[in-house]
Symmetry: C2
Subunit: 205 residues, 2 copies
């Protein structure tokens, strides 16, 4: 072939798994740059990687598996980032830790709007019932709960913590989502102010 297509040179023996990562990276790139999940096509991914479309089937069952792998990783990274941010902030106390976590949450969403959408978009209205119990969203919920619970003196589990954590996370999501998707001008600073307000409100009851 003499035309301008970049074509990837095949992996060597035993390094087939490398392509799998390249595919995921390319898919993430496409998604982050210009896509909704529904618009992400195998052929586009293949083009981005520089391989033929059928090659994807060597590494993924089908389109659905590619997307779900992508999503799962996004959640994993998010939870890791949130926990790390909280830990860093917590040197000034648990409340500072929670605050650092909300800030990081806002920043991640603003910097990766489409990834955020992939994880929390309402488009995902109908989730198969069987997947509910093991859904990665529970990890996120757990991270919020831990951070909220740490702000209370006394180590005992309290049922109110779950409510507060949910309320804080959900309303924070609302603020972030609206900032991302509506014509209302909400800059980074305004967003952080709103997040701080929510934090105060949630903890001062």
């Amino acid at each position: 072939m003499t035309d301008g297509f970049k074509r990837r040179t095949p992996s060597r023996w035993g390094e087939g798994g490398v392509l799998r990562e390249e595919i995921l990276a390319a898919a993430a790139r496409l998604l982050a740059e210009s896509g909704r999940e529904g618009d992400l096509s195998l052929r586009a991914v293949a083009r981005e990687v520089g391989i033929s479309a059928p090659s994807i089937y060597l590494h993924f069952e089908d389109r659905a598996e590619l997307v779900s792998t992508l999503t799962r990783r996004a959640y994993e990274r998010l939870v890791g980032d949130l926990r790390a941010a909280r830990e860093r902030g917590a040197v000034d106390g648990p409340r500072a830790g929670l605050r650092a976590m909300t800030r990081r949450y806002c920043a991640l969403a603003l910097d990766n709007p489409r990834l955020y959408r992939l994880m929390f978009g309402i488009e995902r209205i109908e989730v198969p019932r069987e997947e509910l119990a093991s859904h990665p969203l529970w990890w996120v919920a757990e991270a919020w709960h831990d951070a909220v619970a740490a702000c209370r003196p006394g180590a005992a589990e309290e049922p109110g913590d779950r409510r507060v954590a949910k309320l804080l996370w959900f309303s924070l999501h609302g603020v972030v989502a609206m900032a991302l998707s509506t014509p209302f001008q909400v800059d980074r600073q305004a967003l952080e102010e709103m997040a701080d307000d929510l934090l105060d409100l949630a903890l001062t009851r």
Copy 2:
């Protein structure tokens, strides 16, 4: 034709506009039953109405115009509903009016999840800049602002009202959106409790 297709009998002279409404109704039905905006196809709409696909072009410029008409109407109905609910509740005072409005907001979202998604889904990340100023979302914002401002004694405009209204609406959106799209079991009652909490928090500062 002898097969089972329902075929609509053509409108009579001067009643061409009727089909336009039928198309919109069918599109709304499809959207409400099983769709995301992106999945709504002209051909499916035509099938639902019982006409040929090209007939839609007699009433809409293209797919985009159909969808935007649909969306605009959804906003109009929403704002009308919210204002009406507030008015009914306001016989017990402005705060009861605001409370009635938040309840109506929750109810509308829960009962029409896909319509809610059409209006407030994050998928709509990039809106053309020219449309921003006249976007129907401003009507919704205005409705919230009016309801919040009425809860304060004194008729003078206060800049804080806008902040509070935004915070209330946005966080309410977050709660609703998460209830609609995540595996967390949030029933109607839990949702209303969270909404009440937000209302209290927003007004008690």
